[in-house]
Assembly symmetry: C2
Homo-oligomer: 399 residues x 2
Amino acid sequence: MSAFTDLWHDISDIGGTDKTGYIRFAWTAAEWELRTWFRAQAKLRGLEYEVDGNTTLWATWNPSGSSETAVVTGSHFDSVPHGGAYDGPLGIVSAFLAIDRLRAQGVVPARPIRIAAFAEEEGSRFGIACLGSRLMTGVFDPDRARALTDRDGITLASALEEYDFDPARLGPDPTRLRDTHAFVELHVEQGRALAVPVGIGSSIWPHGRWRMDFTGEGNHAGTTLMTDRHDPMLTYAFTVLAANKEARVLGAHATVGRVAVHPNATNAIPSRVTGWLDARAATSETLGTLVSSLSAKVATRSAKDGTTVEITAESTTGEIGFSDALVRRCRTTLGERTPVLPTGAGHDAGVLSGVVPTVMLFVRNPTGVSHAPAERADDEDCEAGVEALAAVLEELACR
Amino acid sequence: MSAFTDLWHDISDIGGTDKTGYIRFAWTAAEWELRTWFRAQAKLRGLEYEVDGNTTLWATWNPSGSSETAVVTGSHFDSVPHGGAYDGPLGIVSAFLAIDRLRAQGVVPARPIRIAAFAEEEGSRFGIACLGSRLMTGVFDPDRARALTDRDGITLASALEEYDFDPARLGPDPTRLRDTHAFVELHVEQGRALAVPVGIGSSIWPHGRWRMDFTGEGNHAGTTLMTDRHDPMLTYAFTVLAANKEARVLGAHATVGRVAVHPNATNAIPSRVTGWLDARAATSETLGTLVSSLSAKVATRSAKDGTTVEITAESTTGEIGFSDALVRRCRTTLGERTPVLPTGAGHDAGVLSGVVPTVMLFVRNPTGVSHAPAERADDEDCEAGVEALAAVLEELACR
């Protein structure tokens, strides 16, 4: 077995399997097991282990006792429901292996190299993506965070207390941010945009989530004349197809993957259908065009169906560009032929890029599947990822 | 206040309101309150009160001490989730008032007149519509009934035991059926098919429920190229619109009011969407055409979407004709101009019509809404319904 296969195998049965997918929500038993594994890996390597007030884990390698600012790498452990094995954990496992590699090569970095494991990146439990990094950078209010509730009505504050974390310690951490020279996040690529093992991330597409409330008239499915209906399911169905068409035309991405129906009974015309639109595009302008064009078409259809529709932005993010200087240094280190590509997915790297120089490395995804059990990366490509990450960390920490 | 308004008011705040709708599921606190009310009304009138093994309530008026077979009338108390006030209870309240009316007129019927309140007509709790009447007539297996579970995983057997009913007593009741001369169910009309206060039901449309499983490939909403997607939500949306169109073209009814999505996350292309089709038509042939034509169109679309679809009949019922002789006698009694109409809705009367002569009376619905809070009947029309029911009961029990 290769070094990668060996270490990867350590965590591959925590919180799921690659058949059923993984449920590794923040501050649950599965994530706790991954945290325990992280601590053991740090100790095993003699790294300095810490947990900060936002429950982010840190492991620092500083063989020269340097007091320079650190080069930070890492990712997150938590998953979407029934997610893949790689989204998140690959960046953490690769970070430990990159340090092993540098150490084996006799490298003594001039700056500390620090591994981070952020909490609640997917927002699968409390609904806010990149919550750990948002709290650290001060863009999310800790009072609001403490009051967030999961599907079972458990507050984030009590979820933390269950694992003896102190919710009062959530919040901005300017000291640690000031102590960060650069952040590099290695991540599995999530589409089929990479034809070689490793690429460099240049930016994150503008994206947003919109809640779409369709209201009609609840009624009896058997007796209501077709001409007397005000069925919001029809307007919803039209919207799903129109969003897909609009995205194809504009070269953007649009998805309706979540829906709630009231009363959701076989023999009742619904009174209310709520769908959530996830849309992303290369520019904010294209994204705006997609949503406004879709809204206009849906309004017309809604009038025809005798329903009403309300479209509300739940979150929108403009384009996030990573550090041009870091992208250039990665390219010099990894070879000028290394592909540089944007991504449609959000990451802690996107949040941190607002305050520290940030870049991402992507490892090829042969299936193009992510956020689902079939998410994969070949072991050889993962080895190449570790090699690339080690080279970039050496470049940033030694030169 | 009229006699109707007065008695109706008695139960109008049990298990909900006409703003929020009613949740009066079988063998729950709300339905128990309605059962208690039934018993009190029977006692108040000196009627013979019984509860049978299927938990159906009975109240018999037999002032002449007749040993003839009984004329039975009645309906059910249970509701769909957030249903209307009238669907079910109107038939029971009207039955008590019809007896009051006959008694006040000095009528002494030659046959007993018996009021029935059936359980779980909507199937809202355990999924099987007309469960009480199906058990009574022997078309539903009591072992299977006892093992049914509700949304909370409670078996029907333990739901019964909670109210001290004996689940071992569920099952066919041929003795009581043999003792039934005719069954008349008064019910609120559920579309806008009646332009006068009262009509006579001739038949129930053939209808069925089909489960439609759409399977695709779960994936990341942000990063998956539109051309790489196998999104079952698209095939589902197409199906919703196609079912509606097909029903309009054929003069049938089709509804998709219930859906389940996996994993139902905003940022994930679903791997699986399940929708339920409710379809009804004037003839079994038209219903068959609707489903086969829809299936063909959906298969074509599914191939285009790169998804698979499986359509499975969960239940289908052919046309149920009520007794021609009873329809004629109702018409003679109520006037030759009284409209005779089919209905798209299932009823205990449909189940009983297989074994005893059965007919229905419908009371006008001004909104055309049913199975929803806006379900209404005007008090004057309800009074007219009571008058019509009394006349029909007198005709059947005295002549």
